[in-house]
Symmetry: C2
Subunit: 296 residues, 2 copies
Amino acid sequence: MAFKEELAGYAAMVDKALDEYLPSASNYPSLIHEAMRYSVFAGGKRLRPALVLASARAVGGGYQFVLPAACAIELLHTYSLVHDDLPAMDNDDLRRGRPTSHKIYGEAMAVLVGDALLTLAFEILAGLSRSGSVDTGRILRVIHEVAVAAGTMGLIGGQVVDILSSDKLIDRQVLDYIHSRKTGALYKASVRAGAMLSGATPEQLDKLTLYAENLGLAFQIVDDILDIEGDEQKLGKPVGSDTKNQKATYPALYGLAAAKDMARQAAEHATGALASFGAEAGFLRGLVGFVLNREN
Amino acid sequence: MAFKEELAGYAAMVDKALDEYLPSASNYPSLIHEAMRYSVFAGGKRLRPALVLASARAVGGGYQFVLPAACAIELLHTYSLVHDDLPAMDNDDLRRGRPTSHKIYGEAMAVLVGDALLTLAFEILAGLSRSGSVDTGRILRVIHEVAVAAGTMGLIGGQVVDILSSDKLIDRQVLDYIHSRKTGALYKASVRAGAMLSGATPEQLDKLTLYAENLGLAFQIVDDILDIEGDEQKLGKPVGSDTKNQKATYPALYGLAAAKDMARQAAEHATGALASFGAEAGFLRGLVGFVLNREN
């Protein structure tokens, strides 16, 4: 199957499950459930949940046992976007071409939407045992790892340093820190959750981790490049915001040509980490090219 | 042992464990860890974690196996206070006589502090299996229940309705909804977590749940009364803010005398729910009087 069709298949599977996990707006209090759905169904590419599913497949696991974890990680990603967009944070009015949560529902509700998505993610993870098919000890290890990836040593830590670094000259070390946490941590947690729940060997887990780290890096460098060279129409947001906000980026630190080289190199490392996997890792390989050549 | 000494003992046990669970400010990024500690060590009474420990004891369980859950629930409570105090929410400058998180660290950091405490709570709950002494299936059920209590059908739902109701006339049904979620949900999760982790029978669990529901109600009514009759010095915050903000309260809806009767009645129901427990539920009984007669 062509990569894009496979990604669309994963996204459809995830969307259907998310629709079941998210309380409908007919549940009281209606507004928060409506607002949660607004941000979750906002046209995300579902790359993280696809990574969970594809990693399970790469080690011979079934989708149905890891689908809740895939949804939980997408909710964590969405929560982080909703809170990052807040006026007190990055103050973004648009996300994927649509008004951000606080523009529609107000700041108080946007804070609570993020809180609720974060909380629901752990509710879903704890419910993983319901199928009865996954070892409960394994589930607890995954919950622990996801929480660490989302916490102050991961996602939140990256956002803290990003905020404290705005309007400051930062070096490569700080830039790497921000991106390995803001993007890398959830990418890594995604592949590891999918693989761990499916009984990956320690060796498989190490290789998939290396893959995810490099894929996350490639993704972030391309993100920085798109903010310079991208098409506003395709991106759904204005370009040049990093330059305007004096954000440290890979092109700003290294120049555009060198940044492109770095993205290609990270992509090669990601592909290389999968060398010992067979055809069942086809989607993970295809994702590398997709991330490198994406236009939004 | 006198009740207040026992509560102080529980609080000391919880504070010591929280100090171990919270990353020290020497961990990068320093500011978020400093800010998390600022709000967690702000003179809270530690009633919720004491409920976790005392419920374990009431059903014959040991403290060490439930102490992580006690800490996790206190972190959830602290996160909800930090976010509730935000300018976009209740816009409170003082909490327990000290400036609130956003007054010291700014709004962005206060949002992230709440996020980080919420996330750490689940990291700690997932780590409950480390002692090897608690059944992993039981731990997953507790994580699920705590997540539901903290989510849009619990704590967050209560805050949503509270915010949407400000400056509006509300009826008893809405008032009960707000308080049973904002206060009741975590009280209930506390006793249930302590009891479930300690292998309570379904009957014990039902009675402790009834106890917690009534204790939470008494606590909330007394809170409303203290906002009218309390001593600002002892409360550490100005009185009269509910009236000023036109918040619906029990005294506002029923009158002060009737509200006091309701608090006493809820307290009696709480005590009554413990009738079949022996001396090992002594602390839970003492807590009822403490909640009813507290001055802050």
